[in-house]
Symmetry: C2
Subunit: 204 residues, 2 copies
C-alpha cells in the first residue's frame, strides 16, 4: 500500500517511539517487544522494521526519548532557582530515575554490539544532559577554577549516577544505606570543597 493519508512518515516514526516509550515505562526492557508496539498503534510488525531497520535502533530511539524527558525534567527543576541549585540538580537526577525507573533502567540495560558507535543524535542527547550539569558545577566553583568544571563534571556525574544506580537496583538496600540521595550530595560537596581548599590542580 501507499502512505495512509493521515500520517506522514515522520509522524508515524514519532507514534512508534511514543508508544514504545509508554510500554518501556510500563513493563520494562526485559519484556519489551516490537510486535506489541505494532499491535497497539494498529500497524503490522513489518512497518516497524521498515522504519527502524533493527530492534536496536528502535530501542535507541526510545531511550533517546527518555534522555530528552530527563533533561527537560532537570531544566524545569532548576528554572529560576536561586539557592541550592547543585543539590536540586542531584535530587532531580534521582527523582526522574525513580519516577521512570523502567525507562531509566532501559537506557543502561541496552548495549550496542561491540565496536558499534551510538548514532549522532543519541550522543547529542547525552551531551545535553551533561551540559546541564557542567553549568551547575561551574557555578559552584571558585571563579578562578572554572576551567576545571568540565572535567570535574564528568566525574561527579558518574558519582551521582553510581548512587542513583545502587538505589534503583537494590544494592543500597542490601548494604543498609538508607539515604543515598544525601550521600550523593555529600560526595559532590566533598569534591568541590577539595578543589576549593586545595591549590594543586585537581587530578583528572
Amino acid at each position: 500500500m501507499g502512505r495512509r493519508s493521515d500520517h506522514s512518515r515522520q509522524e508515524l516514526r514519532d507514534m512508534i517511539i511514543t508508544e514504545g516509550h509508554r510500554q518501556m515505562t510500563a513493563n520494562g526492557y526485559a519484556s519489551f517487544s516490537a510486535r506489541k508496539v505494532a499491535k497497539r498503534i494498529g500497524y503490522s510488525i513489518g512497518t516497524i522494521y521498515n522504519i527502524f531497520g533493527t530492534l536496536d535502533d528502535l530501542v535507541l530511539a526510545i531511550n533517546g526519548r527518555t534522555l530528552d524527558l530527563w533533561r527537560e525534567y532537570l531544566e524545569a527543576r532548576l528554572d529560576n532557582l536561586e539557592q541550592g541549585r547543585l543539590q536540586q540538580a542531584v535530587e532531580a537526577y534521582f527523582e526522574f530515575a525513580v519516577l521512570h525507573r523502567n525507562a531509566w533502567n532501559a537506557v543502561y540495560d541496552f548495549h550496542l554490539p561491540e565496536h558499534e558507535e551510538p548514532p549522532e543524535d543519541y550522543v547529542e542527547k547525552v551531551v545535553a544532559i551533561k551540559n546541564v550539569v557542567v553549568e551547575e558545577i561551574a557555578a559552584a566553583l571558585p571563579a578562578g577554577r572554572r576551567e576545571e568544571a568540565v572535567s570535574l563534571s564528568y566525574s561527579l556525574l558518574a558519582t551521582v549516577h553510581g548512587h542513583c544506580f545502587f538505589t534503583l537496583n537494590g544494592t543500597f538496600k542490601i548494604l543498609g544505606e538508607t539515604n543515598p540521595l544525601n550521600a550523593a550530595i555529600a560526595r559532590v560537596e566533598d569534591s568541590i570543597a577539595a578543589l576549593k581548599n586545595d591549590c594543586r590542580p585537581s587530578e583528572s
Copy 2:
C-alpha cells in the same frame, strides 16, 4: 532416567553454573540462553529447569559466580600489599570489570521482578565484596573516625561503580573523559580528605 552415576546433583548444578558463566563471559547477557548451556554440557533443557526452576534463578547463580570471582580478584590484588592499598582496590575494581565486561554487565543488566528479594546467598556475596572495601576505607581513615567507615564505604563504592559503569558503557567516551580510573581515585581521596579535615560528622 535416574541420576547419572558420574554426577551428584550438586556437581551437576556446578557444571551448569560454570558453563553458563563461560557463555555469559563469551557472549553477554543479551544472547544468553539456557538451551545452549544444556546442549554444551550434554543435558536437555528440562534438566536445567528441574535444577534451577527459573531462568532468573540460573542467571542469579551465574552472576553470583561472577561476584565470587570479583571478590577473589580484589583480595588477590590486595594480598600482602603495604602501600597504596586503596588505589589498588579501585584499580582492581575497574580491571575486573574490563577483563570480564560481559559477565560484569550481566550482574547489572539483570533485574528481579518488582518486589522480589534476591536470594540470601546472593546477598552474602554482595556483602562480602562490600566488606573488602570497608576494610580499606577504614584503614585510610584517621583512627578516631573509623566508625564512619561503614557508611562512607557504601557511598564510595557507588562512586567507584559509577565511574566504572560509565567507562564500560561508553558514556565517558562520549563525554571525552580519558582517564576514568584516576578520576575515581581522586573522588575517593576527596571524600577521605573531607572527613580528615573536617570536624563535623560526615553526612550520610
